[in-house]
């Protein structure tokens, strides 16, 4: 069943990537881009899981503030991998910064061309270039 979850995550990535490439509206491209970023971050965390083998696993947080050496060794055996979580935290913040900048760029484009459809914007630009160099 874990394999089913992994394969459905791959299908999510492919469908939202199709939404980024094939739809001509800029706002839909932006929303599909956020779905791609979230799915890839989730895939990284799924690779850091651990199979339960006769023990109950726990998140990587130590709860005992004066641990004995046996408690420390048991914590190492029971915890999930903490490295992908630290890297995904950085990746989410950087993705959010790029998204905020993209929204202000889309608003600026709309106020200039009065439309948000990529086909019509390239048509207007082609007419302007042909009109100027003639």
């Amino acid at each position: 069943m874990f394999l089913v979850a992994t394969i459905s995550l791959y299908i999510n990535i492919a469908v939202s990537m199709y939404g980024v490439i094939a739809k001509p509206n800029l706002v839909k491209k932006f929303i599909a881009l956020t779905i791609v970023q979230d799915s890839i971050n989730l895939m990284v965390i799924m690779m850091g899981y651990k199979l339960w083998r006769e023990v109950l696993i726990q998140p990587p947080i130590l709860l005992n503030w004066n641990p004995t050496p046996e408690a420390l060794r048991e914590f190492v055996n029971k915890a999930v991998d903490p490295l992908p979580q630290a890297l995904v935290l950085t990746a989410i913040v950087i993705g959010l910064a790029v998204n905020i900048f993209l929204v202000s760029a889309i608003l600026h484009l709309y106020r200039h061309f009065n439309t948000v459809n990529m086909d019509e914007i390239s048509k207007i630009k082609r007419e302007m270039i042909v009109g100027e160099t003639a």
Partner: protein
Amino acid sequence: MKVRNIFFVLLMIFVVLVISIPTLLGAFGTIPPEHLRSIAKQYLFLSYNPYNKSLWSASPEVVAAIVWDYRGLDTLYETMVFYTAIIGALMLYSEILGSKDVIGGKGLSFIVKRGTAIVLLAILAVGISTVLHGMITPGGGFQGGAIMAVAPIVALIVFSRTFLDKSKLTYAHFISIRSLALLGVILAPLIPLISNAFIFQNQAKSLPIFQSPIFFTYPSTIIDVPMGGLIAILNIFEGIAVFSAFALAFMILLYSEELSRKPLEGEDIGY
């Protein structure tokens, strides 16, 4: 049905096959993995180990220790990327940045205003608690900052913009708060350089290559709770910086259309 859409669908089926066939054949190892990697075991063993204090960081939460101590330079550069993106979004509208809006508003009804005033204090309390407990429980600087950032946006929509224009809180206050918080994030890890330590140093490491008479280290407990030295200080600065960044970005994006068209006035010549 255009030809290019059929071509894109075939491309996406190819992408799914290219990723999933190596996964089924064992490229990521067994799914789910059976043993942890050895580097993860080292981080889990060394992070809060009171018997071997040569490489420890005094915080029982391993993810916060990795983000702010063992890989602290990555977090410093990520903070700088966030800062640059917000400054870039502000520079597009630099002419209208501090001016009052031309359309007057009254806000929503009386019930909504009184209810929101109670809820906003609760949101700020939850956010500050998440920031301050970042080294013991899940939480930290960025998480608490993102929770606290909902409050000024909701206030801007429920009470209208004229109410906030009449108060004395302008955008210049937010920019100065943010710059001071970022200055704190950069200068606080540089202080241990005067004694025998590295940058982003949490506790003093007793390696024999340092010869300096001063011995300075951040404290490792607050009365009886493990503090993690530098981690608590950096969490507070990062929470303040993220909160003011989101407040600034939404204050710019929520101007009315009439005023936002003013920076575009001379652009009808080119493309």
